[in-house]
Symmetry: C2
Subunit: 353 residues, 2 copies
């Protein structure tokens, strides 16, 4: 029997997070995690941490972490907003900035959370098809809209658009907020960060989950003019004042501090990616020129859905998306260590035999 | 000049978190923190933690923590929802359960976040006046409404209503969701938890911030029938799949594991509270019979606002609320250690001389 209270419940199509297998010898290339551990300073910061202080509320401004990020990018602290992963940051952005009756715009093939947030917050939206090469056509974003968001590089395609194209989209949309989601920018892209000094309606969102090897710690951040950051903080403080715990703040600041390690691991991942591209090309796989820490591949003679299942049986986990239809014969493969990619490539060389 | 994008921004009256002073010798009795450190096992769990694993996403279900809480209360895991502090849990509850056109009901003097969330999520609400003794009158909650929430014990009054009164409110409101916010229940109250087995429309929300000495770690939880927990998880997974980091999960589970320490520290706080009540009564202060870890006091001959400022100058921090008007001559004083309360009492004995 349906109860009366049922009708007041927000019913959403439950978002199902990607599988997080946890086997000893698995090759986990399914969630774009960094194959290298966090910077050594993170371990030291943990060991030095005094748990007695946990009885107290944390600093609601997460000052130490905000300052570390601001200093790193040469910004003022008032230009930086932090949240519990870039998902938290983006959810707050959707709530704060997308409140018109006009649909917000994002690509049809993109981060799968955008339409989930739009549904959850009852924001109208329109998905703009990528072209046949899975590229964003900037001209498509010159229509009346309530805001724009896209990842650069895009996910799950890995395709990067140049800074000039990002600027063109921002410039043509002065009346709405434009969010550039740069989760993967550190793997060879050029950040849109300089645009925040030139345009007051653009936010650049980044994360510690990929290039900083801290997916577990849940740290994302937005950078923009102080006015936008203030609006974001107003909404955030009215949602949950204390989101960042002192361990997150301390370990996050320690991660930012180690530029050498960051450069070193990022370069290694880029090198492994390019080596993997060459090997896959030889095997007849087809893919765009990914500038991220993953490849989005297909093969003219193989079923990617079948390959996904077959690899899984060998404890090699990659990602397959059943929707939208036109990416159904693609796999998203995260870049692991050279050794991990070698095991994958070896399996592919003998596939399907 | 106002930009066009300004009109699409969610404008909220910024919530200002209470001050978090950080002086070496201060007596901090302003945010209801526990004066005792987290259970010893929490320190051990931190020391044993391997930061290398932080490169991976955490378990989105926070299984280890959910199981620890479920086991502790003799519930199924499907009856427990966890979030980033009870503020996160309550914000998700507001979003999930309060979606009718009818106003939700809560007391006029209560946790100051309820109206902030209602404003943020554009939920109509009605504040029901407490009686002249700051007590909830259950009959006031028998009107058409879109949902009900109240803390028990109430904040900042500390007043507890008996389980029968809570049940009366739940029973009279079968068509809406009733949330009992039990942040302070472990300091002498009787939890409404048994009601979740009897009524499918009630949620009980608790936190690690007070009785578990973990305000810094940000852990709150809701307990209810699996159907309500599922609705809550559906909304939460569509907001941010990964909210609980592995340190939070591990340290939280370690805190729940130590029942002896929990009983010991809770009893000490209750004893200190009762001793403080007696001493304050002698000094002419007037207050209700708080069953929480704070007292809500006034004095017929003194200005509490002035006292608040004067204590602050001595580095003794208590909490004063400027609104609503009828609590303006009250102070909320958290229960610290016996030594801390002695310093406060000594200052009061000589006040204002």
């Amino acid at each position: 029997m349906t109860k009366n209270w049922e009708k007041n419940i927000r019913k959403v199509v439950p978002y199902v997070p990607g599988e997080q297998p946890n086997k000893a010898n698995m090759i986990k290339l399914n969630t774009n995690e960094n194959p290298y551990p966090p910077a050594p300073g993170v371990f030291g910061a943990l060991r030095a941490f005094d748990t007695d202080g946990l009885r107290r509320y944390p600093d609601p401004t997460a000052h130490v972490l905000v300052k570390a990020i601001a200093d790193h990018y040469g910004l003022e602290e008032a230009q930086v907003f932090v949240g519990v992963g870039s998902d938290d940051v983006l959810a707050m952005c959707f709530m704060t900035f997308f409140n018109s009756g006009q649909p917000i715009l994002f690509p049809d093939i993109t981060y799968s959370f955008y339409d989930v947030w739009a549904e959850e917050f009852r924001i109208p939206y329109q998905q703009i098809p990528l072209d046949e090469d899975f590229q964003i056509r900037p001209g498509d974003y010159v229509v009346e809209n309530g805001g724009i968001i896209f990842p650069n590089p895009n996910a799950p395609t890995g395709n990067l658009i140049p800074l000039e194209t990002v600027e063109e989209i921002v410039k043509k949309n002065p009346d709405v907020i434009v969010i550039v989601d740069e989760a993967y920018i550190d793997f060879g892209g050029v950040s849109a960060l300089p645009l925040i000094e030139k345009y007051d309606n653009v936010l650049v969102v980044q994360t510690f989950s990929k290039s900083r090897s801290m997916a577990g710690m849940r740290i994302g951040y937005a950078m923009a003019q102080p006015q936008l950051i203030k609006y974001l903080n107003d909404v955030k403080y009215s949602f949950n004042s204390y989101t960042m715990n002192p361990l997150t703040i301390t370990l996050g600041a320690a991660a930012v501090a180690d530029e050498v390690y960051f450069q070193e691991t990022t370069k290694k991942i880029i090198a492994t990616r390019e080596r993997t591209k060459a090997a896959l090309r030889e095997l007849g796989y087809v893919f765009g020129d990914s500038m991220s820490n993953f490849l989005f591949v297909t093969h003219p003679a193989l079923s990617m859905e079948q390959l996904f299942e077959d690899l899984k049986r060998k404890d090699i986990y990659v990602r397959h998306f059943k929707r939208p239809e036109r990416i159904r014969n693609y796999l998203r493969i995260s870049i692991g260590t050279d050794a991990e990619m070698d095991i994958l490539l070896e399996a592919l060389r003998h596939y399907p035999d």
